[in-house]
Symmetry: C2
Subunit: 183 residues, 2 copies
């Protein structure tokens, strides 16, 4: 994430070790035990390195969360825009409904940097890929803004402001408002 002036060798190793340490501790230990000194010990570096490089635990967590939210590839191709969106949303919601998933989003929002914008960009990009594939197939144009505003945003709102699980019928209904069911 950090556009380091010196991205090579040691810096990269330290960053990888720290990220791995955060992911490990985030899995094993309670959140209240997730402290900078603990992460530093696990990563084999001194705390001051983390303070200097990330500034605070919040910003470090946001950095790690952004990396975990970065898509590893394009959304699955199901043969139709509607199918692609449905598949992609289902996976996204499943990942983000879990307690650690919700925590990740909050970590992103709790930082001082550009993590939130980056995250939103990831989501939008995935939708754009789906839209582009649909266009190539000759399907009617997908309104990406509408998907963000009328589907992604309500889902995110639920995830952030409510602890209840997200009803599949509900978000499929949202999707149907933007993209008519295939077939």
């Amino acid at each position: 994430m950090k556009e380091s002036l010196r991205p090579g060798g040691r810096s990269a190793r330290v960053q990888a070790a720290v990220h791995a340490a955060v992911r490990d501790l985030l899995r094993d230990r309670a959140r209240s035990e997730l402290t900078i000194p603990a992460i530093a010990t696990r990563a084999g570096v001194t705390p001051s390195t983390l303070y200097r490089r990330w500034g605070s635990l919040q910003d470090l967590l946001a950095d790690v969360a952004v990396e975990r939210m970065r898509p590893e590839g394009d959304p699955d191709d199901t043969g139709s825009v509607r199918g692609d969106l449905e598949e992609w949303l289902e996976q996204y919601i499943e990942e983000m409904t879990s307690v650690p998933g919700r925590a990740m989003t909050r970590d992103v929002l709790g930082c001082t940097g550009a993590a939130p914008r980056q995250c939103a960009a990831f989501l939008r990009r995935q939708i754009e890929v789906i839209a582009a594939r649909g266009a190539a197939r000759g399907e009617p144009a997908l309104d990406v803004d509408a998907v963000v505003d009328l589907v992604v945003a309500p889902v995110m709102y639920r995830l952030l402001f409510d602890t209840a699980p997200v009803d599949p019928a509900w978000w499929r209904g949202l999707l149907a408002r933007v993209v008519p069911p295939a077939g």
Copy 2:
């Protein structure tokens, strides 16, 4: 916020003093200077009181933010559901677009308690009031869920994930999807 077992006298005074101290410091000082000891000094109490009662700075800030977001009264009555919503949204967005406004929402989301749910409840309640007034006037029923999902959620998404100002034409367009413009 705290459903104290003993809400009277001293406890209430301490809470009021602490909330006031947070609001003051939040206005005067930079956010990085907003620390528990600083708040305690300003409020005239010892830090340990804050730690015992609120647990952490995050939870204290969330508590204060919830109080600031609690509506002070019903939305203005403009004579129509559409007008009420427009007026209410305009005020809400204006308040929340500012840097401290956005910070408030993030404070709410960064806590461990029920602040987010409480906040969402506030918003929903306001919309319900508008809906009830409309019903009493004989207007067509307002779908409160639709307002939350298709208007409030997208606005919140923008506020949280983007730093750009919110375009009035855009959110009025969202509103028009749910409530046709008043004739």
